[in-house]
Amino acid sequence: MSEAVQPRRPNETGVMDPFPHMHPLLKKNYGDWKWHDRLRPGVLHHVAHGGDEVWTVRAGTQRQMDVHTIRLLCDIADEYAERHVRFTSRSNIEFMVSSEAQVAPLIEKLEAEGFPVGGTGNSVSMISHTQGWLHCDIPGTDGSGAAKALMDQLYYEFTHEEMPNRVRITTSCCQINCGGQGDIAINVQYAKPPKINHDLIANVCERPAVIARCPVAAIRPAMVNGKPSLEVDEKKCICCGACYPPCPPMQINGPDSTKLAIWVGGKHSNARSKPTFHKLVMAGLPNNPPRWPEVAEVVKTILYAYKENARDWERMGEWIERIGWPRFFELTDLPFTKHHLDDWHGARASLNASAHIHF
């Protein structure tokens, strides 16, 4: 008497209701906050119209967390805070407490357990990063490792608010760029066309879809060794890697191909200037795990040039806009090459059509 096991149907509940999990003071004063200030780096203090106050302590995490780390954070929240936390979009954890007296012991405990307190105000917050070798199917590099290696070096800037304005750093493990715009963005930049395994194309790839994916129409159908395959016009190819995800036999990664590039001046906020895209400043850097020292050097050079020279409240891109690109390349001692000249759609808008010259 075998009875077919009825599979469980999902409860299609969608986005979880946050209110049962929200700190009681946040729930009580939902939509009714009056002002805030920051007592020190990593600590926010919010005051509601009715007079309620809440203190938030922000700490950095490694994003990819084992259950023991999460439980440790829960233990800290249960003992030193009030059993409620939230996460920021940059993987920082926030503990809310209802009295100022709880702040110092909470910070002490977090620091003792190895969680840096900071990431608020004009600091360098945690790097928003992608998956990389740990879990992605098309990565050129690793995300968690690069973020860890860099944050080790930027630890002081996370735990202090000494930058002219906030600094947002992002990384991306391929040119699709799952990472967002950044004041500084560290992205894979391929330097060679894909290497094609012609034996596999016919069985693995939907050829018309792959051809359609190419931004510059450099891929065309071909018969190779009697088998249907694809070929790449290497003079046209811009080495973006767009063909690789739908067609893994078109391998874009390789030791001579996978390089890192640095972009600056991306901004999401509308404060002062409109949101902007980041701009290329450096490419051809080696993909050098586990600590990517060449990348870290360039990032620090740019970051400290900004820290020393920008005015209060200028974001990276606004600072460069004011001082001009010639001065930026002078201050950072990075090379300016023909590759910095845009040649994609709308490129003319990026060229200087004036007699405004920086000497």
Binding site: P10, V15, W33, I70, H84, M96
Partner: protein, 426 residues
Amino acid sequence: MAKKQHKTDLLDQLEDGPWPSFVTGLKRLATDEGKPYAGMMTDLLGQLEHSYETRTGYWKGGTVSVYGYGGGIIPRFSEVADKFPESKEFHTLRVQPPAGMHYSTDLLRQMCDIWERHGSGLIALHGQSGDIMFQGATTENVQKAFDELNEVGFDLGGAGPALRTSMSCVGHARCEQSCYDEVRAHRTIINNFLDEMHRPALPYKFKFKFSGCPNDCVNAIHRSDFAVIGTWRDDMQVDQEEVKNYVAKVGRKYMIDHVIANCPTRSLSLNDDDTMDVDNKNCVRCMHCINVMTKALSPGKDRGVTILIGGKRSLKIGDLMGTVIVPFMRLETDEDFEKLTEFAETVIDFFAENALEHERVGETIDRIGLSNFLEAVGVEVDPNMVNHPRTSSYLRTDDWDEEAQKWFRRKAEKRAAKQAASQAAE
């Protein structure tokens, strides 16, 4: 008897340094004696070290899903399973967090317990789209893990050509600059389109993001197809006593150099008595002065949202910012939320029917032109949609007079509505 650990000379170097180390966490899982995931995490560390040595990734995709859904699982099969057999299947469940990423410790502990039973013990908080990523389950355990997470109240997020998991900022919950109820908007919109999330059938991905003010803390304008940004129409609120206190604290020079002079439309003026005038008609709601003077300044009271459409990252035509499609929409009453939902439905229907395969809606707009898009989604043209009018003379204008009439008719209607409203108020 614990499984023998692989040598991880390169990853070991990422245990040094002051920032919390994910490698230390992975090792704890790999050496968790008696736990079902220890063997899997041992081999996962081996494969990751192999990637660090060879500078190559070794995962490929495939097809894994849960009963009743088509998306939400990111399947990963190892290409080096001969060397690292126990992590040969290492799938991710993308799970939607509570809106605003609020957690009670009870909820986090439940997540850990479930993932310890059925997964790897590794959880990423959070992925770039805003998902909780439960990383590392065998094909067999994906369903078990989902069933238990679903019983707790979690639902899968989006993957593939589908509506994706959304994000909203902390907003109303703990921010005085928030201009609308982000949780309500986030849950109302996403929960209205769950079919598009769970059964991928769109031309490509579609993302909503919700930021409570123009600081855009969840990066909606660039990172979503449909950005909902809080704003206000009336005058910003100024507490002149607090303005004076601020000036007394930082000094007049700082106030002038860093607040007054940073206003992008020169709408601020410091008076001789250290109060501040605001030319609200020319203020563009950029947030700079409000960000700097948190106690003295705050958004106005007639609040709502601006909607921008078409933001996306590189592929295929290059990065795009969203474009203003709805300059202002109130978002307070049930009716307002219904209107937002209806508009989102119109845009998604347009996208589903008109976008080419693997084309984001911003690219569709680029391909067909903004005016065609506006006509398709029933929105009237507005000068807030442009930085400046066209500079190219290559256009045909034989219907100029009709189009101008439309503009004057709309203006007259708006005037009449305003008059009626003010009469009703009297």
